[in-house]
Each structure stands twice: as C-alpha cells, then as structure tokens.
Amino acid sequence: MTDAAWPSGMACPACAGAPEPPETTNPAGAPASPLRRYEISLPSIHCAACITGVERGLAAEPGVAAARVNLTLKRVAVTAEDAPGTESRLIEALAARGFEARPLDAAALEATRTDAVGRDLLARIGVAAFGLMTVMLLSVSVWSGAVDSTRDFFHWISALVAMPAIAFAAQPFFSNAWAALRAGRLDMDVPISTAILLAVGVSLWETANSGDHAFFDAALMLSFFLLIGRYLAHLTRASARSAAAEIAALEVHMAERVAPDGSRETVPMDAVREGDILAVPVGARVPADGAVTRGRSEIDASMLTGETMPEAVAPGSAVRAGMMNLSGPLLVRAEALGDETLLKQIARLVEAAEQSRGRYASLADRASRWYSHVVNILAITAFFGWGLLSGDWRLATNIAAAVLIITCPCALGLAVPAVLTAASGRLFRQGVLLKDGDSFERLAEIDSVVFDKTGTLTTGRPVLTNADALPAGTLALAAGLAEGSAHPLSRAIVDAARRTDVRPTPLTDIVEHPGLGAEATGDGESLRLGRAEWVGASRQSDVTTSWLRIGGAEPIALRFTDEPRPEAAETVARFRAAGLPVTLLSGDGDAPVRALAERLGIETWIARATPADKVAHLQTLRDAGRKPLMVGDGLNDAAALAAAHVSMSPASAVDASRSAADLILIGDRIDRAVDAWTLSRTARGRIVENFSMAFAYNVVTVPIAYAGFVTPLVAAIAMSFSSIIVSLNAMRLGRRT
C-alpha cells in the first residue's frame, strides 16, 4: 500500500448524511493539496457521542477530507492535506472540544493497522463452521438410524464437504506441524495434524467399504475449536503488539533548530547534526545532549537521575537529552549525538539486560511439550495393541484414530488463550496495557517488588511543607510573587496558598530572572523569591528550598518535598500484606529516600543508585533465585525494568522506560499494579484449573477410546463438552466487577 494514499470510500458518511466521496463531504475546505493520513490517539473516548463529536469536529476543520474513529483501538484516522502543522492544528481542535489527543507516528503503526493474520484465521473458522454444520446435519441422521445405502450416501456427501473444508481450515496446523517435524521437534500441531489426517483417512476408507462410522464431523470439530483457540491467542498478541506500537508511536521526535540567520524550523531528531543550535522553550525537554549557549534557566533532571531538586544552568552548562527546562528559554548546541548520548547508553544497558533475561517458556509451551508425546504414544500403543491382539488391522486403525481424536487437545488449545483473552480485556478496562501474554504469566510468579521513587511512588511534583510555620503574611507575598510563573516550585507555593485560603498579595512590577527567581516591590519593600545565593541566604538546607527576602530582613525558607502519591502507601501495604518484600531503589539523595521509605513503611531502601547500580541490584536478586517485579518511570530505570523478571511503568514515564516495561499503567494510578498482580494470580489459577479439567476429561475418555467404544457420536459430545466447559471457566475471569 502506498504511504499517503487514502480512498475516497473512507469518507465518514455520517458527516454529510449520505456516503459520498470525501471531497464533497467537507465544503468548509475542499483540499486542493495532496492528502495524507494522520493517526491520532484518543485515550479518553468511550461512547457514541464521543465518536460523533470527534468526527464532526474534525470534518469542520479546513483541509480535512475525512475522519473515522476506531473505538476499539481508541484512535481516529484523519485524511487531511499534507501541509506542515496540520497535525498539531487537528490536535488543538480536538483538545478545544474536550478530547485528549496525542499524535501517533502513522508509519510506525502501518504494520499493525490491517490485521491480515486475524482475517485469515477468521476466514478459516468460517469455512470450518460451514463444513461442521453441514456434516453435522448429515451425521445426526446417520446417528438417528440411517442404514445401508442412505448411510453410505450421507457419508459420501460428508466426505465431499469435509475434505475441501479441512484442506483449507486446518492448513495452519499442517504447515506448523510440517515445520516442527522438519526441525526435529514435536509440538502440539503434530498430534493435531495426525488426528485430523488419520480421522479423514479412516473415514474415507470406511465410507468406501460401507463401514458404520465416519469421523468427518470430529475432524471438522477439532479444526473448528482449535482455530478458535488460535484466533483468541492471536487477538491477545495483536492487541499487545498494537499497544506496543502505539507506545512507540506516541512520541514524535522533533526539535526546533535555529539557523545561523536566526530563523527557526522544526526538524525531526534524525536530521539534527553535531553543532546545530536547538531552541528549548520553557516546559519542553532538552532534545539532545549538549551545552547551553544562551539563556538562563533551571533544569529538572528527575527523569534521568531521580533527583527532584531543580538545577540552575547558564551559558556553558552541560545539559542532557530528556531533562525538562523549567524557567527560561534556552539555546543549546547539540554536542554528543548518535552513540555518545546518554539515551543511547541507556538503550545499550537495556539491550544487555534483556539479553541476560533469557527466554521464558510459557505454561502452554511446557504443557504441550510433554502432552504431545503422551498423545502420540497412546495412539501408537492402541494401534499395535489392538492390531496384534485381534489381528484386525482395520479395527486397530479405527481405534487409534478414535484415541487421537479423543485425546486431541481441544480443551488444551482453548485453555490458555481463552483465559488470557478474558484477563487482558479486564486488565484493559482497569487501565493496564499488557504487552505480551508471557509477561502476564510471569507477573503471577513474582516474589519481591522493587519501586523507583520519583514519579512512581511520588507524584514527581513538589509540595510546600512548611506553609503553616511561616510568619503571617509571608505566604501571601510569596504566592503573589509566584503567581505568574510556570516553575514547579512557584506553582507549589500558589497551590499551598489556595489550600490554606490565603489570598496572594497583588504585585504589579514582578520581574522574573530565569534560573534565579522573581523580584518585585510590595508594601514599599523590595521582595525577592528564589535560589539561596541570589536571595542572599547563608544557611544551606538538605531539602529543596526556596528563599523569600522581604526588604533587608533575613530570608525566610520555603521548604518543599516531593509528595507520595495518595495511593502509594496502600499499594506498598497490600504488597507487604501478601508477603512480598518491597524495596525502594532511587537515584535521589539519602535524606529524601529514607524519609519516603519510613513514611510508606518500606524496610529496605537504596539511595544514590546509578542506572547501572539499579541493573546490578536486580541482577543480584535474580541470581539469588528471586523473581522481582520492578516498577519505575525514569530513564534511569529503563535498564532495570528490562532486567527484572517482569516490569511496569506508569503512562507518564519516558518512552525508553515504557518500551522496556512489560505492562503499562495507563490510568496513572500505581495501585493498579497490585490489581494486575492479583488478576494475574487468578488467571494463572484458572489456567491450571483448565489444564486439570482437560486432564480429568482425558482420564475418563481415554480408557473408553482404548476399549473401542468411541463412536463418532461419543467423540462429538465429549469434545464439545470439554471445550465449552473450559471456555466458560475462562470467561468467568472477564466478568465486569
């Protein structure tokens, strides 16, 4: 498919009242320039009104040809003119209508957009269902007592329908089994294919010789149920994959480059070269490692180091990619690019940690490995046992086919996918994205939990702690000075004033000094709020502190801490109550880490950990045979996330961490980690239950098959019964709670 092509048939017919080409559906701005497809993520849409609102809103924008919401994926595909700035204009238009919107990289999503494999499986399920229904209709008349030529006639028609249907529907099993056999392995598909082929072969032979029983319906039923299992497994994998692709596509890497003549252009990060001057506005992240050439500001490095105290920068200071610019616009000369950047170094650590983790064999893999051997051995012994004892090899072949059909893992093939589909659906409703089914099984095995501090257990936003201890009127003045500023400490002061019902003193002549603080005159005195050295404070403090000087008096300290999330204490308590030791692993200084650990009741804490220290800590845990869960959000956590047995990231995390983590907490609530863990334990229990049920069913039916009492009727009842029981048991998990 072409990258930019988009058919007119995509027109949202709802926009104009009739399905017509998009060029006519939008009289507001019939686009003359080439069209392009934009993908926008809409995490908050959930209802019919949202669909209408988004589509109508976008169609009203000039240059938009068509817009179509996909509610399942929570995305909208927009066909609009291919002009710079179109995407951000559309996102603003959506935000103005109250829809949270984020750009997605359309190229990164291309691979997951059309689900060819899923459609292929659905088509095969359709054919198997058609064949099964037709053959079952004829089989029921045979079982009800059709004899002689009528029975043979029905068997022949069944054969006519079943053979092409099976050839098409069961083809994935045949090709998988063939690939496995050629590689010298035995997997689940080998006994499945043998059972289907043997059933068809035996039935053909019996039909040709006017035999009593034909297993065409059993072969079709096998294919039908197993294909449903495959399809469910595929759905879970596909939704996990598209979640991963969406996470990767969320961050569009752009930088604002300043040309020597002063003009500015927005370029993709790939186009930035060493020595380029990049503009970093307030509130944006530094795009590349480099040195400040102009401007003064403060930099928040908490994503990189876990440290919450803002750091002052001036021309000449080194800055690294991922740091947040807090107070003044900066110009940065890009220095380290490519392999030199901190980001790339972290990426290398992540890669190394992922390799050391090794491959995880899922429960289904382990079960099917021995199960397929057992099934093959049972069938072969039945064949030779009956053949040698009775001398009737036709009967022996019949019984071997019956044994294979009965033992064939219909229930086993459904047991895991059905549980995982139900569980991941429920996880999604709870606000947890699962990136693959394996990680969900691993989550059930954890025996210890490691938390990052900043941004994970804490909100990552400072809060004024000594508001009540301040001299009267001080808070009002400080809030007045802080009111106009976007600096996190200023906002914390204003928040504290609002909370305690203090009205900020109106000040008119506020001058902000980026990187230093703010200055004004009030009550006839000069006021300064900002960093210690600028305000003239002599005392030092080990917590984040701003100072307020009124006239010539001694500066007053305003102290801040990074508050824990409201649900953090409960989260830790629930993990501890379940007997899992909790560790706090942070790059921040000793004092704040200890304070938080004591407050949340965490007994082990490690401060000043570098990214490599964090990986080493998790490696030690794993070497000691533990299975740690790591929850973190910063760039410094990314490698540790990859090294853990299983890992989680809040959605607010940097993209390196989000892509390293196995589960993403979309709702940005950390207690979802406990919910997901509880659900994973339930799901694991359900999988084991399903396995035991499938096993119990075999214990009952295999002797019957061995004794030669399995007619096609018994096989049909037994297979559908066990499959339905297993699916129902799995579906209990998906109930709305």
């Binding site: 988009w6 048939g9 209802c47 399942t72």
Partner: protein, 62 residues
C-alpha cells in the same frame, strides 16, 4: 427419500450463501472496530459501512 435430492443441495446452497456473506463482511472491514459499530448504532447520523481498505480501490484519486 426423494425429497433428499432437493433438500441436500438446498442445505449446501444456503450454507454456502452464509459463508459467502461472511467472506464479504470480512473483506469489507466489518470486523475491524466491533466496539465502534456497537456504539454507532446509537448515533442519529447515517452511517452504513465501515472504513474501506486503502489497497482495494487503487483507481481512486489520492
């Protein structure tokens, strides 16, 4: 029993029509957004078919 010579072809043809209808719906993206379709029915606006695939109609202008 002569009725069978009519009924069996009828069964096969009806089943085949169902199968063809299923294939048609697969090819026309009817299964791409199940949640969206469930909600769109609640909207007043006329909307009788889902998004088409890009490569199905290469003649269309871009």
């Amino acid at each position: 029993m002569n009725v069978l010579t009519i009924l069996i072809p009828v069964t096969l043809i009806l089943g085949g029509i169902g199968l063809l209808a299923f294939f048609w719906s697969l090819r026309h993206n009817q299964f791409d957004d199940p949640k969206g379709q469930a909600n769109r029915i609640l909207s007043d606006r006329y909307d009788d078919h889902p998004a088409e695939d890009v490569d199905e109609d290469p003649k269309e202008p871009r």
